[in-house]
């Protein structure tokens, strides 16, 4: 699969829903499959609440193979020219990026709007990127335009990606890995190559749930073998994307297409850390003028977390009010299984972002009382 298959009927582009390497595996395990980012993906198995809580107390295996894995390299390996090319495309400081350590970065448009968020890892031979599934085709196009012709961009579309997340992820995974670096030496945001059940795997201690855990890139044809191996451990159950979303919301992590978009700036989104210090002064990446100006001047609104009174959830698009005045909008919302009350991420006027600020959210004609709280809503438990 190197091109996105499209059939045209009656002049309307119909995009075929694709299957990923674990499709049959999910169905056999009772996963409820839905269309997501152009693929059939499991939204849940036994139920979002149970899967969410299982991940928080044990370990959940998520299939995130819909995400885009991209490899940027040059014939000469990692040269200053290749680093310069990557730095011209992303606001990252590669001088501070150690081998094997993934780092969060952003793909920005020329106005500083966010096209995607992504992870960049320096490998000995090039740069490995993981981008969002729904945006990967656009991302690949954007990156190809930004990178010079002598830089190669490979879409690793034969590779599957699993995320094993939760406090018992380490115990379950350690039984099956062999590598030059003991798994216990992998701290949060560090990765290395391993044999996992005899399969070549790139494993990093990362994820998007707020829990300790690992992301595991493996050949697609070995995905079912690895998934069986991990789910054969008593700590591990397969978990659907529904719980992945509620976990990342509790962790205060923004989701592209909801909390991040081309209309969102780095400062709005509270993602200053994604623009490395040197780049904040030097610029030289897409949208740098806008981003540097925002760093100096601030912006009118900012992404915050709110906890709601009562049990009625507010959803994306709900208005945030101060009295009768509209002061913001909800970008992600739902019922928090860990906290047992509704939480939202919202963008509100910068003046109203202080912890404890009382606001109102309008949902289906009802006014819900809400209070600004620091994020994450549930403390991160990364292994640092």
């Amino acid at each position: 699969m190197s091109e996105f298959p499209v059939s045209e009927e009656d002049g309307v582009e119909e995009i075929e829903t694709l299957t990923l390497p674990l499709d049959a595996w999910h169905r056999a395990k009772g996963g409820r499959m839905v269309e997501f980012a152009g693929y059939y993906m499991p939204v849940q198995y036994e139920g979002i609440m149970a899967e969410h809580l299982w991940t928080r107390e044990s370990a959940g295996l998520f299939d995130v193979s819909h995400m885009g894995q991209v490899y940027i390299s040059s014939e000469e390996g990692v040269t200053p020219a290749l680093e310069a090319a990557v730095e011209a495309a992303l606001p990252i400081d590669l001088a501070t990026l150690k081998n094997g350590a993934p780092r969060y970065s952003l793909l920005l448009d020329e106005n500083g709007g966010i096209l995607d968020d992504l992870m960049v890892t320096r490998w000995a031979t090039g740069f490995y990127l993981v981008v969002n599934g729904a945006t990967k085709w656009d991302d690949i196009g954007t990156l190809r335009e930004l990178l010079p012709d002598d830089v190669t961009l490979n879409h690793l579309d034969e590779s599957a990606l699993l995320a094993l997340q939760g406090p018992k992820a380490f115990a379950a995974l350690e039984r099956h890995v062999e590598g030059e670096i003991p798994l216990s030496d992998l701290r949060f945001m560090k990765g290395a190559a391993y044999k996992l059940g005899g399969v070549d795997a790139w494993i990093s201690r990362s994820g998007y749930t707020g829990e300790d855990g690992f992301e595991i890139a493996i050949p697609g044809e070995s995905a079912a073998h690895v998934a069986d191996l991990l789910c054969g451990e008593p700590e591990v159950k397969p978990i659907g994307l529904g719980a992945r979303d509620s976990l990342r919301l509790e962790a205060g992590l923004p989701l592209y297409g909801h909390d991040l978009s081309p209309e969102t700036s780095v400062i709005d989104a509270d993602l200053k850390f994604a623009v490395n210090k040197r780049r904040r002064t030097e610029g030289g990446f897409p949208g740098a003028d806008r981003v540097l100006n925002d760093f100096a001047e601030g912006t009118a609104r900012r992404r915050i977390g709110l906890v709601l009174e009562g049990r009625m959830a507010a959803r994306e698009g709900a208005k945030v009010l101060l009295g009768d005045q509209e002061v913001g909008v909800v970008t992600s919302g739902g019922f928090s299984p860990s906290l047992q009350n509704p939480i939202v991420m919202a963008y509100v006027d910068t003046a109203l972002t202080a912890e404890g600020t009382a606001l109102t959210i309008e949902m289906r004609g009802k006014k819900l009382d809400a209070t600004v709280v620091p994020m994450p809503f549930v403390p991160h438990r990364y292994y640092r």
Partner: protein, 123 residues
Amino acid sequence: MTRYFSEDHEWIEVEGDLGTVGITDYAQGQLGDITFVDLPAEGSTVGKGDSVSVVDSVKAASDVYTPVSGTIAEVNAALADQPELVNTEAETGGWLFRVTLSDAAELGALMDETAYKAFVDSL
């Protein structure tokens, strides 16, 4: 007592001119964990097909439509503390509201249990 079903996956059990309404077991299974139920105001007048209640699950909110016109006679107060009753007892203790029918003839447009089962199997 007779039980009817709508294509929107509500059930209504009618005794005299009083109907008890809930969502079907099939519907609760599709929605997943119910976390909140927004119930109509007692005494309010509703028209067949109106959205009168909302069930919130972890991920999404879904409208519940009244299968008949009438007046809301009672709501299930137990759901305030135990919205999960809609999951565990969808067609019994997890009922949502009672409505005093204004036009019993509307029941004729609904399905009986056999027809509803066939309808669900066709989805």
